[in-house]
């Protein structure tokens, strides 16, 4: 079993972090994982994205060309990645910041108001974790428990006071996406 994912947005939206948490979750489950960021001129103030592969066998290419699930947090990322989603795959988009609707009909499209849900939780910075919860509704490659473990590992003891709001964000995102599928 192998899952290939792309997380995309603009710098500061936490898409690289979201992808790393998925890779950490896979590693915690003893799976083979890779995380590959875009690097280059586009990451300086512009678009950021990462490819994540989680597999029960050794990961070959860490570059994801045809993702099973794509999470886009802003409009430019939607424009870039909508067409790449695998047939019957999932496209999660941040409805709070993207007003244009995706047009593909051969994939499942999940509009998630990530920023709004995060704001309602009292911390707009967890919008990426809301999207991560929604992402979990599209795949069996990692579990909620290992995502939470990955999140704690990523943030570390110094950000312990933020664990609760992040876990809540994960759950809210997951529930919102589940209600749409």
């Amino acid at each position: 079993m192998e899952g290939k994912f792309i997380f995309a947005g603009f710098g500061g939206q936490g898409v690289l972090t979201a992808g790393q948490i998925v890779a950490l979750a896979g590693m915690i489950e003893d799976k083979s994982v890779t995380w590959m960021p875009s690097y280059g001129p586009e990451m300086r103030g512009g678009a950021a994205n990462c490819s994540v592969v989680v597999s029960t066998s050794l990961v070959g290419s860490p570059i994801v060309d045809v993702p099973d699930t794509v999470v886009v947090m802003n409009k430019p990322s939607l424009d870039i990645f909508e067409n790449s989603v695998a047939k019957n795959g999932f496209l999660i988009y941040n409805e709070s910041l993207i007003s244009t609707k995706p047009t593909r009909t051969d994939i499942t499209i999940l509009p998630i108001p990530c920023n709004q849900i995060a704001k309602d939780l009292g911390n707009v910075k967890v919008a990426n974790i809301v999207s991560l919860g929604a992402f979990l509704a599209t795949t069996d490659t990692v579990t909620m428990d290992s995502l939470i473990a990955g999140l704690k590992d990523k943030f570390g003891e110094s950000k312990k006071h933020l664990f609760d709001v992040n876990i809540e964000a994960l759950n809210k995102g997951y529930e919102f996406a589940k209600s749409l599928i």
């Binding site: 890779a23 995380w35 690097y39 070959g60 290419s61 860490p62 060309d65």
Partner: protein
Amino acid sequence: MKKELIKGNIAIAEAAIAAGCQCFFGYPITPQNEIPEYMSLKMPQLGRTFVQSESEVSAINMVYGAAGSGARVMTSSSGPGMSLKQEGISFLAGAELPCVIVNVMRGGPGLGGIQPAQADYYQSVKGGGHGDYHLVVYAPSTVQEAVELTQKAFHTADKYRIPVVVLADGVLGQMMEPATITVPKEEPLPEKTWATTSIGNSSRKPNIANSLYLDPYKLEKHIQHLAKKFDVITENEIMVEYNDIENAEIVVVAYGTTARIVRSAMNTLKKEGINIGLVRPITLSPFPTDEINQACKNANSVLVVEMSLGQMIDDVKIAINGEKPVNFYGRQGGVIPKASDVVDEIKKLRGVI
């Protein structure tokens, strides 16, 4: 040691520290910046030496100085910076000074770009500097292997008194993968009796690190000594990995990141009943010539895949020695070949498409 999710560049830096690297000299360039950045933090904390030099030229000459005095020393760079280091690398090879040089390859020529490439194969394997010399070149394909080969590079350098290159690329440098930073158990190494250390109260003559031999007969003797040493390295140090070469109708030869992409393509093809083999050279210098010839014995043809216009293919052709067709597929300039492109290429070769 705990397995951690770690970037290739940082893993290389940590591996070097664990292997006892005492000095690091470097100058920033993408996509290897995490190496000097990490070293700038950790080396002073450990009481070791880090210098961000004013250029790659001075960095490699600092390597010459530190290596000459017997220290374990490393530098890292990419494309344009590697070109600047070539004079120093030739001097290091000539003076038989052990050191580790990491090249996280990006697209060239010239300033080129910053995206991953494998276009510095000729430069590292065939010698980018002047004169008759060989380097040892390791080509890791995973972050864990980058750790192990960086550490092995220090050992090989000390064992044979030779500069060793770790040839990675932008993907391997930037990607994260689970890896364990091991502390290598090394075989005993010869004492560095040649190092230019203080003679103190001893009666020995001062050592000199030198590559100048004005008498051509002496220089010829020196070059032949270097060549003999490389023969021993070729005898003992070749590393190569085989995947599914039995019953393979086509054997692909690829190294580093490209070998991973080929593995993804092989998985797709296997589902369609098409058996493809992969030979992955881990040492690019010395090159696994006989190993590749043997691995391709039963194949109808050979395909070389590289992120370049085709550089390693020359060595594969020498290995195959005209026994069967050697084809090429590659992308250049920082464009990474897709697994599906490799699948299409192999199908084309089989005459299916």
